[in-house]
């Protein structure tokens, strides 16, 4: 209802407790190295896609963990899986698998499987 000329702003806060973190749990289970990320951003720095778009593997990684899935899903498929990120990762995170698993997890969550 906009008869006042404005509407109540939506909260920007991450509501950790009410967010659905099923996608993150799915990835944690299948790819334990997902835990190891220290958010250094090396992956995003070398990423070809990141140089063209706002796709950021680092950010994606943290948003999935917080259950902020909507922001993530539209970007996931921009990844070309080229693997440069895996090569630069100082923590040995299997980044490509995380992208593939995340895509799968979103499909599963669409089917209410997770």
């Amino acid at each position: 209802m906009d008869k006042f000329g404005y509407t109540i702003s939506k909260e920007r806060q991450i509501d950790y407790d009410s967010n659905n973190r099923g996608v993150a749990s799915y990835i944690f289970e299948k790819e334990p190295s997902f835990r190891l990320c220290i958010e250094c951003g090396g992956c995003s720095a070398t990423c070809t896609t990141a140089s063209f778009t706002d796709f950021s593997l680092r950010e994606l990684n943290i948003l999935i963990k917080r259950g902020e899935n909507d922001q993530v899903r539209q970007n996931l498929k921009k990844c070309m899986l080229c693997g440069k990120c895996t090569l630069v990762c100082p923590r040995g995170v299997n980044t490509r698998n995380i992208v593939v698993l995340a895509i799968k997890a979103f499909q599963k969550s669409d089917n209410y499987e997770i």
Binding site: K3, G5, Y6, T7, S9
Partner: protein, 353 residues
Amino acid sequence: MIIKGKKAVWNDYQKEIADNNYYYVRSCVRQNFFPGSETAFLKIMREELNKDVYEHPCHTTCTGIGYHGDIVPVETTMTVVARQFALMTEAGYENLLPSCITSFGLYTEILDTWHHFPEVEKKVRKQLKKATGREFKIPKNLAHASDVIFKFRKEIGAKARYKLINKNTGEPLKVVDHIGCHYAKMFPSRGIGGAEYPYVLTGMIEEWGGQIIDYPERRHCCGFGFRQYLVQANRGFSIACSKEKFESMKPFKPDMIITNCPGCPMFLDRWQYVINEMEGKRYGQNGEGIPVFTYEEVAGLVLGYDPWDLGLQMHQTDCEPVLDKIGIEYAPEDKYKLNILPAYSEKHNLINV
């Protein structure tokens, strides 16, 4: 909640409040929003507590709204404030008693600035002299009106006709206190109880029989925020702030809200109506809203003043549920009768006086 811990904090944040001879400075907006409050304050101070409270007819705004709304530059503000001080000095008073939280915050800020940067004070003195020919003394004591009511809370309590107790259940009323941001957030040491666990309103409520509830968003701004509300495009943010507070206090089922700031009761009161209009969401028991009071109104009610004399008919969220709970007598049919207020007259336009 460990009350002992809280009390320890309260003990850490005490402040000196003058005993008598106050120079009262009004708030710009309260006279419109809750016009009974300041009248009630003066009445309580003069008639109930027998204090000398002086009001200078020539005092103006402190420019706080303009200052926090990024419109008035700080030097201008300081000069205007210096004029207030000059009026006080001329009237022979030393204890400044602003009605407005933002004024209180602003005076505190300016006095602190001058303390650290005497050259600024010097410059302002020069400017004031040049503009108005006036000179001033730094106030000896600066206390907000709610500080004074806090100071005399026991005296008021002793005279009370009503207690903040549900007459049907005997339980204390659950009261949410909301402290204006400019009261202690900028200078925690100048507020009773500090900024994290302010005691100023809590002390009154506890003294008068109510029970304060501590809810997670107690620190959150009411949503006025000056530049948030003043620009229409930002009002969605303003109302979201209030909503956040209501959502947070909701599980505690508060009976009423008490505030010590001009803007806060306005927004906590009016936004309840707007939220209901926009989202169909009603707060309070039975969806009747959570009544919002100023501390003067609450003091007046406790002392047995007529609710309509206190201006409670000006509230958008009806106060009757709380009045009923306490058992305050009132005449519903008198609510909107204007006979209490002086008749408005074209001829007596105050601006031309």
